[in-house]
Amino acid sequence: MASAEQSKPRLLTGKLSKAGMLSFLSAQGILIFFLLSMFVFSFFSEQFLSQSNIMTVVRQASIIGIIAVGVTVVIIGGNLDLSVGSMLSFSTVLVVDLHDKIGPTNAILLMFVLTLMIGAVNGFLIGFLRLNSLIVTLAMLSAIQGFVLIYSGGQNVDIADQQGTWFAFFGRGYVGGIAVPILMFGLLAIVMQVVMSYTGYGRRIFAVGGNPMAAVYSGIRKNWCVFSTYLISAFCVACAALVLGSRVMGSQNNVGQGYELLVLAGIILGGTSLLGGAGSIWKTVIGVLILGFIQNGLLLMGYPYYIQWIVTWVIIILAVWLDLANKRKRLFTTHS
């Protein structure tokens, strides 16, 4: 973050020194990498840059992206949320199962309320009881998965009338030629980016994540801030469940399994620090899109789908490493 702040005035005064250029490059490295990888993939495959392909990729990435927006806020606030995968399973099973029982509107409302309640439990334990977020959300991951299985009795759920329900709008619909999942992803990302950058609330979250003690001494109600980030995360998961349930029109019990780690991979790739106090929503959006385009590009180049995992392994470590190396002005650590 330090380099980004230093580069700003230089760019504004129009004096582009070499150092200024370098720090600009390193601050926007992930964007440059994104454009570069797009260029390479378009070189190998003709369809890659077609409009329909790009729309498909963004649409596929939108569920992970929607969740990642919420988790980014949690991480900026200095905590982690590993329970989003189980929560996604829970919300999707719930909304799909209730759809036929109490109608789509009630199902959606009830699903949002219950998901937010889970978020509130997370937020209470971590914000007010100040427990370690990694372990609490790990425990919630296990507990919520158990609840899903108890609720559904181990059965997968389906929506009976898949053609006749307006519930299909969220996953399959289009508004102005753009798929609804993409719109929801974009809207959430823009709103949260504005909230995080331009409101007092966003500044308080950054302060709490950066230095909790200093934040408390400046009169910020830290407990409430942390609590609220988990509500935001839960809200985003509920939106993702809406899209997922509506797109599949059914749900398996473990549909969200492993999502928490894919979401984290996207966030880390975007350059948000896991230590809190730094990062941004738009970086996360780019990180998630990079993962989506790498997956798609490798498939179009004819590689099997699991190759993307190996590639992701390498680029996640490289991305974080180069960021660190730039900050300490040295490629390797010095201790032995």
Partner: protein, 319 residues
């Protein structure tokens, strides 16, 4: 009261989780007539041996202040190698499986040491990537052990004791001694407790980290081989979610995520708590789903109790 506080803080030689293990033990002895039999108790040890072995290594990594999320994937790769290479040679298969664990552990440790990237991120990447390597190697196929000696080993016994339980307990004893009686164990605590101070004290921080990642890699691979021999097969998805179970067990055992504090005795208690809970609820014919909920609840309760008991008193804050 101060005795009880000290007891729960782990200042006495018995870890608090063992109280819980004993309570569970007594509870299930009353609830199920089959629970308290020699056969069932050895059974619990066999069932927990895979999670337990990985947890031994994880304890070292977590005391060291790091975490390893890639253990499940390493376990899966070792299992696939151990079964898949049997056509060539049994010895080669076992060596390749254990070697892969050591190598991947060393790679994780080396990257954490040299690049300074957080172990959470490095091993999260490895968790995805190594799973990719498994799919690449197996071509998404499950392997079945054609060698009966291999498949029999997992279920064999020495006298009345199952081999897997003996291996697990022996490894636990060895790792306990390594942690408490060797320089490496002492330095592991030191690095986890205060990395800067340990560098100033001349401790080779990076090397100890790397050794600990090698230890956990080796144990994950060993657990993979033993699990494959128990099942007589290996699937590409073997070991999914193991990292979560293992971390749960280690945290239940009182090891701090921030590093510098923990013990093998505690981890053994955490592993047994999970094993007894699963086994006992199974005997009581409770659906397996409830175990997940109860485990989550226990984990959070342990955290809350730990927080309440270790909260700095008003006097300490004033100083």
């Amino acid at each position: 009261m101060s005795f009880i506080k000290g007891f729960f803080r782990g200042r006495t030689s018995i870890q608090p989780i063992w109280v819980f293990v004993i309570a569970l033990f007594i509870f299930f002895s009353f609830m199920s007539e089959y629970f308290l039999s020699f056969g069932n108790i050895t059974n619990i040890l066999v069932q927990t041996s895979t999670i337990g072995l990985v947890a031994l290594g994880m304890t070292f990594v977590m005391i060291n202040g790091n975490i390893d999320l890639s253990v499940g994937a390493i376990l899966g790769l070792a299992a696939s190698l151990a079964v898949g290479l049997q056509e060539v040679s049994m010895t080669l298969a076992i060596l390749a499986a254990l070697g892969s664990g050591i190598l991947l552990g060393a790679l994780n440790g080396f990257v954490v040491w040299k690049t300074g990237v957080n172990a959470f991120i490095v091993t999260l990447g490895a968790m995805l990537g190594v799973r990719g390597l498994i799919f690449l190697y197996t071509d998404e196929q499950s392997f079945f052990a054609m060698n009966f000696a291999f498949a029999d080993f997992g279920t064999s016994t020495i006298g009345p004791f199952p081999v897997l339980a003996i291996i697990f307990l022996a490894c636990a004893l060895i790792m306990h001694l390594v942690l408490t009686r060797t320089g490496h164990g002492r330095n592991t605590f030191a690095v986890g407790g205060n990395p800067e101070a340990s560098i100033d004290a001349g401790i080779r921080l990076g090397r100890h980290m790397m050794i600990n990642f090698i230890i956990v890699g080796f144990f994950a691979a060993l657990a993979g081989v033993l699990l494959a021999s128990q099942m007589g097969a290996a699937t590409p998805n073997l070991g999914r979610d193991y990292e979560l179970w293992v971390i749960t067990a280690v945290v239940l055992g009182g090891t701090k995520l921030t590093g510098g504090y923990g013990s093998i005795v505690g981890t053994l208690g955490g592993v047994l708590a999970i094993g007894i809970l699963r086994n006992g609820m199974n005997l009581m014919q409770v659906p397996a789903f409830y175990v997940l909920v109860i485990l989550g609840a226990i984990l959070i309760s342990v955290l809350i109790i730990d927080k309440k008991l270790n909260a700095p008193s008003a006097k300490e804050v004033r100083i």
